[in-house]
Symmetry: C2
């Protein structure tokens, strides 16, 4: 009455191994996104759990029959949406082994190897980011969780004993305020909500022409809040914003933070990978002045979801908020001594997957050189797309290309007198047509109120020909759209 | 310059498939816990990331050489620590495929299959828990994250506009208080810290002789706080506490919550699996009255880490706190319509692994019958161990055996006049000796101040003979300990 019989499990492992190999090998032959509408997959499955055991072969057949047709192929070389995060062969192998081991890296004692490998990998990634040695890392699932931890540490550093006494019902605790550019990630609002800071106390500071936080506007916002009796808590500066991968002037922002005693958190979840490039490192200028930095190797460092790293300059600040050792883990916690961390002391989560393994595989299998070459190639391809956009009078760039993302729109008729609303609508229709082909997948964003199409290059499988093909498709679909509209008029 | 060559990846997948099969097949031949001290693994690895790519074969050799000797084998049938969480063959296969697909289930649009399968699996698990249909679920990584979401919803339901305005600097917001028994999980304090409620505002309510929350003490605590001008926020009742798997009187607690307008969160992270058993279902009495319920299939339902389910009676309460759609996901979010959820609306995390797949595999491969039989067998084995403890005058049970956990201690000399401190020390030494053999792994806890050894049965591979062996070892080590101490005197 245990698990599957050993020989059956072995057979299935090999079958799934071939499935995975076939999938990766043939991925380019698939539609990027599925065609079905909401609810179709759920409708194809029983509403109640099965009473009796079902053969694994049948379950795998249903996986192919019901699940696969509803998959968006994030690993497809023509998937150019969001940040084009990508899994890789070494990462998949790492996840296989981690699932088989199924250890929980709560304390050193509960899994010395998972804890120590996490420390080693975090140290490697820190070096690749160019952060000084005093920064100590911890792995979380997502940057959204990481920023909550960073800001909880910031909140504790106020010296108001928030950990113990909380924020509510205390005359001595003023409203706390947070700052980020109008381009920053919405995880900041979710953190403000969670931490009891309040969404309304997040100040979205204006950004400049290139979508970088205006330091003057930041300073004025902080000063206004100070005058109003609020207590400015932290600034989130972004290296690689979600829409246009713009880079805030971190060094100057750090100056404002120092002046006013604010915690500086840098969101380099995507952009941190640029630190690998000699020619890209400048985006990290000033990050060494931050109190905390988040970087997601599951975005642009080829590690499968989820793997987010938070680096804190004074790890004690994080530990002071979250260390809380229940009796049944007390002995464990002590056995680690001072040599290695018990990562549960640095976070909310107690159950912690062996995430370091896949990252260790990826970093070693590619080497720093290999990672660098791939990130560099993504940047080259993004610039190439930008050139195509600029060379075609029917299109325009909406933001400088800084990393692996191109924001553009159709602006037809060239020189014509079309309102921004009209262009938004045109571009929305264009996006829908392009994606409906199933041949590529782009997403959109809004920049200064204008709808922008986005091509994100980050997938390790994406080649120049994939982008040639995608661009050709965008152009063809625009022509088709315009001629059908012309015909309709 | 892409990933590994396709044929090499295929070869490695098969190699790792055999590794996993061999590992599961031969796991019983291994030491349960490693022998090395803190820092040894890290010391065996380079301090800097490799410059050049390394062959995957070499990396896998290092995995065997450096990582494996530092692994605690959570899947070992003699691993009887914590809650003896366990992975299974179908779960491992599910994780392999999820890693290869690497989709993010933020919105329906970003992965229809992952979203809809999550809904289907959540509905299945809800039925297995015996929760009414109005409860809607969402999958998080851990119960620690789930309770933060539940209490954030509770906080919002106060009608104080906490999402927008926060808790700080507001004369209209009194201190908020939380309640749980002195046996409840420490994740409540971490939630209180995170949410800005404050650790000091968590009331640990006394429990009775069988470690169940005293409803009278709860009522008095709430009334005291009301009189003091605090605002009682929520009660966390536990079905299956971490130390002794005791069960709070949920129905009576629900009465107090109703009376005072408190949110009731039930932590059935471990104990929820008892709902599968006709003879165990009584532990869930009253849970249908809760506002939220957490259950972790990664604990006692054979799903690999991480997979925690939160069920909320009024899902819109959760959505009102966390729904926040950035522009670049707006179209996606809308395309789901009303038929299916966009799970990002129900939580902090945006990047969400395809966790439903492994759970779907496990539930189907075992069937409700198979899962039930295995949970029942764990309970039977735990009762068997309890009988052995009771039959041996040198030991005593420290708590009733309600689920799969036995808390006991050596109490030698029988009838002798040894202080509790003396017994604590003896049992600590006994635990250290038993675990040092590497043949089994037990953990400890403290009950009414007394050190208790814990045997947790939950691993799908654990058979009666494993427990016979473990118990024999405990007895032998006690004899050896006493005779060596006798000799030392």
């Amino acid at each position: 009455m245990g698990d599957l019989p050993a020989d059956e499990f072995r057979r299935l492992l090999h079958e799934v191994a071939d499935w995975v190999a076939d999938y990766r090998e043939g991925i380019e032959g698939r539609r990027v996104v599925p065609e079905g509408g909401p609810g179709e997959i759920a409708a194809a499955l029983p509403a109640a759990p099965p009473e009796a055991a079902e053969p694994m072969d049948e379950i795998l057949r249903d996986f192919d029959r019901v699940v696969m047709p509803g998959i968006v192929h994030w690993g497809h070389p023509n998937f150019l949406g969001y940040f084009a995060t990508t899994t890789t062969a070494p990462g998949i192998l790492g996840e296989m082994l981690a699932a088989a081991l199924n250890v929980s890296a709560m304390t050193w004692q509960t899994s010395p190897a998972a804890t120590e490998l996490e420390a080693v990998v975090l140290n490697w990634v820190r070096q690749m980011l160019g952060l000084p040695a005093e920064f100590q890392g911890v792995v979380y699932d997502t940057a959204s969780v990481a920023v909550i931890h960073a800001l909880a540490a910031a909140r504790e550093e106020l010296g108001l004993d928030v950990r113990r006494e909380g924020l509510a019902g205390r005359a001595s605790v003023p409203a706390l305020t947070l700052y980020a550019s109008d381009q920053a990630h919405s995880s900041l609002e979710k953190a403000a909500i969670t931490l009891g800071v309040g969404e309304a106390n997040v100040r979205r500071v204006a950004s400049d022409d290139e979508y970088r936080m205006s330091v003057g506007a930041l300073r004025r916002a902080v000063e206004t809040d100070v005058r109003a009796g609020h207590r400015p808590l932290a600034v989130v500066a972004t290296v690689g914003t979600t829409s246009a991968t713009s880079v805030d002037p971190v060094e100057e922002i750090a100056g404002v933070c120092r002046e006013h005693g604010l915690w500086l958190h840098v969101d380099a979840a995507y952009g941190g990978a640029m630190a690998l490039l000699e020619e890209g490192r400048h985006v990290m200028r000033g990050v060494e002045l931050a109190d905390s930095v988040v970087f997601n190797p599951h975005k642009w460092l080829y590690v499968p979801l989820d793997f987010s790293t938070l680096y804190v300059r004074r790890p004690e600040a994080l530990r002071r908020v979250f260390s809380l050792v229940p009796e049944y883990l007390r002995g464990d916690a002590e056995r680690a001594g001072d040599a290695v961390p018990n990562y549960m002391d640095y976070g909310i989560q107690l159950g912690r997957r062996f995430r370091a393994l896949k990252a260790w595989f990826v970093i070693r299998a590619f080497g720093r050189e290999g990672l660098t070459a791939r990130v560099r190639e993504s940047c080259r391809l993004a610039r190439l797309v930008a050139e195509w956009v600029e060379a075609d009078g029917r299109f325009e760039l909406l933001a400088p290309v800084v990393m692996g993302v191109v924001c553009f729109r159709a602006r037809l008729p060239p020189g014509g007198d079309v309102s921004d609303e009209g262009l938004d609508e045109l571009n929305e229709r264009l996006l829908a047509r392009v994606n409906a082909t199933g041949a590529v997948y782009l997403t959109h964003t809004r920049l200064r109120g204008r709808l922008a199409l986005r091509i994100a290059v980050g997938n390790v499988l994406t080649r120049e020909r994939n982008l040639t093909h995608a661009w050709e498709l965008v152009r063809l679909q625009l022509s088709a759209l315009l001629s059908s509209e012309g015909a309709a008029r």
